[in-house]
């Protein structure tokens, strides 16, 4: 019991940090925001799954994937295919030349539901596919890349290229995938209307709960021996290998885990937003998700969630208020964070926020309570920036 408490919640500090996040997204947001803003937060939180996955594989594993959009997209597409089939019952598609198939197929002269789509009539298969398809793809990519000891930079670029290929494929096969428009107009989940406000609220809570679940799982992995090995690998891969560990397997595992997280995010995205399109698969969204993790702090699971929320809010706010400026701000923010705050918000908090808060609290006893609360916001020890590799250049 004690053990689970330590490993899942990260002890007292971790537990309170998690609690604050949970209160924020489960209580504060639903109470403070109208349904429109809340569904926006819901959408942002689906990106947070990807960011949390990136903390695992990039922050701790040292594997920077620039193709997380692939997994987000695949998860989303699996869910969207199920929802689209449900939305395309023969009754509501009776004006088509072939009723009962998705509308975009009808436009592409497809007269029969393709094989690939058949199993997505089943909800349980869909749930399985949401997790299995992206994870298997990650497994294949991972085995191919890591077993052959592909360098980290190569890996980044190859994942990026895969994202580009998948986008072109999805757009090109529009009879199967809906093409560039994506799969739109999703309505019901097993007969339950996902578009009205009350169901959006329920989906929001499901989403939030799943996200917290993923954070917990991530924490469990990191506090286990595996987590320590990951960090050791990131810093001195050879030493871990020479100690007799199969480095590749650990990398593959953490990459698959990140892919599975992303896929859950994608599926929740399709459910909440009501459509899925190739614009979430490509290079740009994939890198944006890395931005989220970087801003939040690549070493902090909770930081990734805050980073996602902050950057997404910022993007929405600035593009509403200063459409001309927001790319400058986004780009600038990214440069500054990467150059000066490599550990992002979580790192900033660690180095300044706490000190500031405790000083503030010393002068004002009333706030003593909040200090305790705040102290534990980033439970994971923030590591120093990745060590200099200058000395490693000679083998």
């Amino acid at each position: 019991m004690k053990n689970a408490y330590e490993s899942l919640l990260g002890g007292k500090q971790g537990a309170i940090g998690l609690l604050v996040l949970a209160v924020l997204i489960l209580v504060v947001f639903p109470l403070a925001l109208d349904s429109f803003r809340l569904s926006m937060v819901g959408k942002y939180l689906t990106y947070a799954f990807v960011a949390v996955g990136l903390v695992l594989c990039w922050g701790y594993g040292g594997i920077l994937s620039l193709g997380q959009g692939i997994f987000f997209g695949l998860g989303g597409y699996c869910m969207a295919m199920f929802l689209k089939l449900e939305a395309s019952d023969p009754e509501s598609t009776k004006i088509q030349s072939t009723p009962g198939i998705p509308d975009f197929m009808d436009w592409n002269q497809i007269t029969e539901l393709p094989m690939m789509w058949q199993p997505f009539h089943s909800f349980s298969f869909t749930l399985l596919a949401v997790l299995a398809v992206p994870t298997l793809l990650a497994l294949v990519i991972g085995i191919a890349m890591f077993k052959r000891r592909v360098g980290d930079v190569y890996f980044s670029i190859v994942t990026q290229a895969i994202a580009a290929i998948l986008t072109i494929l999805i757009i090109g096969q529009q009879g199967l995938t809906g093409g560039v428009n994506g799969i739109t107009d999703l309505r019901t989940l097993n007969g339950w209307d996902i578009r009205d406000d009350s169901s959006k609220l329920i989906l929001y809570f499901v989403n939030a709960a799943l996200l917290i679940g993923c954070v917990l799982l991530g924490r469990f992995v990191l506090t286990s021996k595996l987590g320590r090995l990951l960090m050791a690998m990131r810093d001195k891969e050879e030493r871990v290998r020479f100690s007799g560990y199969d480095v590749a397997s650990f990398k593959i595992f953490v990459f698959c885990l990140a892919a599975a997280f992303s896929a859950i995010g994608g599926a929740m995205f399709a459910l909440q937003v009501g459509f899925m399109s190739p614009s979430f698969v490509g290079i740009v969204p994939s890198i944006e998700m890395v931005i989220f993790a970087a801003v939040g702090g690549r070493m902090s699971l909770l930081g990734a969630v805050y980073g996602t929320l902050l950057v997404s809010f910022g993007k929405t706010y600035f593009s509403e208020s200063f459409p001309e400026l927001w790319l400058y701000l986004m780009g600038g923010l990214f440069i500054v964070v990467v150059m000066y705050f490599p550990n992002g918000l979580a790192g900033l908090w660690e180095s300044h926020g706490r000190k500031w808060l405790s000083r503030f609290a010393l002068g004002n006893k009333v706030f003593g309570q909040s200090v305790v609360k705040a102290r534990v916001m980033s439970p994971v020890k923030v590591a120093t920036p990745q060590p200099s590799r200058e000395l490693e250049t000679t083998p």
Binding site: W58, L64, L66, A144, M145, R148, R149, V150, G151, D152, V153, Y154, S156, I157, V158, Q160, A161, I162, A164, I165, I168, L169, G172, I283, I287, V290, I291, A294, E324, L327, Y328, M330, G331, G332, L333, F334, I335, V338, M339, P342, P385, Q386, P387, S388, R389, E390, L391, T393, T394, P395
Partner: protein, 306 residues
């Protein structure tokens, strides 16, 4: 289909030329990146934007020429190329000293920071030149086709890009492998600390290398105004192809980059001819990835143990 043998021959020649011309475009794009990524290990995601800098430089110079020295119009392109090199190079110099130099020990982070830079640069293009594409007035001699026989049309801009690519490649080759500076660059790449110890000013070498890479990107951008579009996001169209070319070739090898550009271009051009354009692209990229999975260090890898 009624195609005579001579016509078929003509098409074959033109298609062969097309393959070469795609090869040159790829190589010219990749050269700057090969220097920066291959020699310095820096992943410059803003590479495409440096291309765009070159393209806009050409546009500005073409407008200026048209306005003030219309008589010079046929020759402005040479000035434009030199100016593109200087401006993109100077910008590269600036970026290196302000940003990249702080990140050498964190290669993945250069990737992220330069991505931010590319966003800023794109928006800067938009603010300065407007969101719409612009068209530089091309000198007549560079447009149109050269027809050695009735049935054969060789694109002049293709020939021009080819010549330029040859010039750039040879120059860079000589600089890297036959000059003192090249020696210093290669030494720095292999062992920075040791190079510093023997008295090489590695900071200066880095700065020069980065600036040179960006300058070459600028030249490529100027050349591409003859075959493509000039707009705020034009550079980002090239970025994936460029990176794959460099990675496929094996990062640290200039010969590798040439070989990989050649094979990718031939595959692409041949498949485009026999299949549809979209499918050719997917197949080429997939083939490259598959080969990379078998040979992760690229076609020509330098012999460094990992």
């Amino acid at each position: 289909m009624d195609v005579s043998l001579s016509e078929f021959g003509a098409i074959a020649i033109m298609q062969g030329f097309n393959g070469l011309s795609v090869f040159c475009v790829l190589l010219l794009m990749a050269l700057g990146l090969a220097i920066i990524f291959g020699q310095m290990g820096v992943i410059n995601m803003a590479h495409g934007e440096f291309l765009t800098v070159g393209a806009y430089t050409t546009y500005v110079i073409s407008s200026l020429t048209l306005q003030y020295f219309p008589a010079m119009q046929p020759y402005y392109f040479f000035f434009a190329i030199i100016a593109a090199f200087v401006i993109a190079g100077a910008l590269g110099w600036l970026v290196e000293s302000l940003m990249i130099s702080k990140l050498y020990h964190r290669p993945l982070d250069t990737l992220l920071a330069t991505w931010g830079l590319s966003l800023v640069m794109q928006q800067a293009f938009r603010s300065i030149f407007g969101a719409r594409e612009v068209g530089a007035e091309m000198p007549a001699w560079i447009m149109g086709s050269w027809a050695p026989s009735e049935a054969i049309d060789i694109p002049r801009n293709g020939l021009f890009v080819m010549g330029l690519t040859l010039l750039c490649t040879v120059t860079i080759f000589l600089m890297l492998y036959r000059s003192r500076w090249g020696l210093q660059v290669r030494a720095t790449m292999q062992n920075r600390v040791m190079s510093r110890a023997v008295g090489i000013n590695t900071k200066k070498v880095d700065r020069m290398t980065f600036a040179l890479g960006c300058g070459v990107a600028g030249v490529a951008g100027a050349a591409f105004t003859t075959i493509g579009s000039t707009g705020p996001t034009a550079g980002s169209l090239y970025i994936v192809d460029t990176f794959l070319t460099v990675v496929f070739g094996g990062a640290a090898s200039l010969v590798g980059t040439i070989a990989s550009a050649f094979s990718i271009a031939q595959a692409q051009s041949l498949m485009e001819f026999f299949l549809s354009g979209s499918m050719a692209k997917v197949l080429t990229l997939s083939a490259v990835i598959l080969i990379l999975m078998v040979r992760p260090q690229g076609l020509f890898s330098s012999k460094v143990r990992k």
